[in-house]
């Protein structure tokens, strides 16, 4: 057994361990969500579901406030994407193209906001919003989510535009485009897949965010806020079903854009 085989075994071993660590709770949530309510407390839990039923999921979807909160969540996420890309794309483009004074400092500051846990950021943000009277509506939640997603959007779009050669835009300019026209006709179409990935990631950030949404909303709750509000009193089946319902879009979307995330994080 040589060193390389040992290396690979080690890497795969750790990878499998991490995957299991994440997947087991997820798996238990998933099978519980599809177990009839009466059998949820069975112990030991059968690892392969014997009875498949949508009864628990149905119960969750039918619960009061769930459907409106899903709609709220989707709307907030869409607003967040619009605000986030409108602000983040120009910033990313500027980082990629221009060597302006304070560029490095700007990059560090953008990253630095990611050093703090979301809870620490969201509470002062939420307090500010309350003081400004911007609360209990979807736009205010979307604004907080935009603030949270923005560093990521700026860094991703910056990376995307770095990958689009500057000479392409210059060529378009010599062929009759203005600076702006060259961006629209050449840089933007080439950056579109990357921007889409940023949009999807923003959706996931907003979809899963719970602190700010809970503090800022009462009547217009997003899904995580709605589920959290009833967490103490709701039956176990409701929690499993809610967990699955919230996790699923994130899992599916992240899977879709994993290529871009791997690019971003320096694959070979």
């Amino acid at each position: 057994m040589n060193a390389r085989v040992l290396d690979r075994t080690l890497i795969y071993g750790i990878a499998v361990l991490l995957a299991v660590w994440v997947l087991i709770p997820f798996y238990i949530i998933a099978i519980s969500a599809f177990t009839p309510q009466a059998k949820i407390f069975d112990y030991p839990k059968p690892l392969i579901p014997t009875t498949f039923s949508t009864e628990t999921m149905q119960f969750f979807v039918d619960a009061r406030g769930v459907i409106p909160s899903v709609l709220n969540s989707v709307l907030v996420a869409v607003f967040t994407i619009v605000f986030g890309l409108a602000l983040g794309t120009p910033a990313g483009y500027a980082l990629a193209r221009f060597h302006f004074r304070g560029r490095e400092a700007f990059q560090v500051i953008v990253l630095a906001t990611k050093m703090f846990p979301i809870a620490i950021l969201s509470i002062p943000l939420a307090v500010t919003f309350l003081q400004l009277g911007l609360y209990d509506n979807l736009v205010s939640v979307a604004l907080v989510h935009t603030a949270m997603a923005l560093p990521f959007i700026i860094l991703v779009t910056g990376g995307v535009f770095v990958a689009v050669s500057h000479e392409l835009e210059e060529a378009a300019q010599t062929l009759g485009c203005s600076r702006w026209g060259a961006f629209l006709r050449v840089a933007l179409p080439l950056a579109l897949p990357g921007l889409a990935a940023a949009a999807i990631f923003t959706f996931v950030v907003s979809w899963n965010e719970v602190f700010a949404a809970t503090i800022l909303t009462l009547r217009t709750r997003t899904l995580p806020a709605q589920v959290l509000a009833g967490l103490g009193t709701s039956p176990l089946g409701f929690k499993f079903a809610g967990g699955l319902f919230m996790a699923l879009p994130a899992v599916v979307f992240i899977f879709m854009i994993r290529r871009y995330l791997i690019n971003l994080w320096g694959s070979r």
Binding site: S165, E167, E170, A172, Q173, T174, L175, G176, C177, R179
Partner: protein, 351 residues
Amino acid sequence: MSGIGIQNATKLFGKTQALKGISIDIRDGEFMVLLGPSGCGKTTLLRCVAGLERLDGGNVRIGERDVTDLAPRHRNIAMVFQSYAVFPHMTVAGNIGFGLRMHRVPKAQVDTRVREGAELLGLSPFLERYPAQLSGGQRQRVAVARALVMDAPVLLMDEPLSNLDALLRLQARADLKRLHKEVKRTTIYVTHDQVEAMSMGDRIAVMREGSIEQIGAPMDIYDNPASQFVGGFIGSPPMNFLRGAVRDGNFAGEGFSVPMSRPRVDLQGREIVLGVRAEHITIGADGVPARVLVVEPLGSHALVTALVGKTAVKVQAPIDVGVRPDQAINLRFDEATVRWMDAGTGAAVQH
């Protein structure tokens, strides 16, 4: 009609002066090559003509128009980039027609001109392909076709052949020269390859550190370099240089003495450099003694490197010259072709 005039162009990047007051006049239809080592400012000068960089001083004229402050799209130019800058999200036809569409040429006319352009560069079979499906040489031709169909009176090329392999480069060089003969656009061509410059240019501007060292027809520059730098940059092998001083009708340096049949009173006693090309040296029975270092047979001729005193000199000899390393030989310099340069400044001494 569409000549290019550059007057006193200066450009700064931070504190480095990329262009130190350059003036050139390029005639209508002329093929002007900007030649120099990397960092000499040749690409910067081209980009200033294109409008992709702003001049810090001086002005640029295209035809009768002062274009110094105009955006690239208002300058009536077409450009071929070193990386080709072919748009990956468009087909070959889409690429070639891009500029025409931007200028709102009617669709039928775009199609005709795209087909003509593709024909001219042998791209007709590839019109519906995407750049990723093309070879490097084909992509380069797309970039040239895209620039040519614009019918702009001025064509700017930034090292368009430097990313091709040697064989393809030879072919593309001949193609570009043929194209220029056909379309007769005023062309500025940037390269660091002196062979390209010699073979393609009507005139060459040799640049160094942001200034123009010499402008002239290729053979003129080759035969009469204005400085040691130009002589050393143009020609393969570069010009040979021997340092010494003229005394009593001889040019003598460390370990050698060359007799001068034509006395040069003006050079008397001066520290000076003799420049002579490899093909103007013959190996014979008498002359300057030298010792052979290396013999390189190159098919049509042999390149002999010999030591004169302590200086290595390259000699172009017949393939059957029959000398071997360490052999003592005698070299004769063709006196009519010998050039003299000032040892301090490197500038050629008038003769």
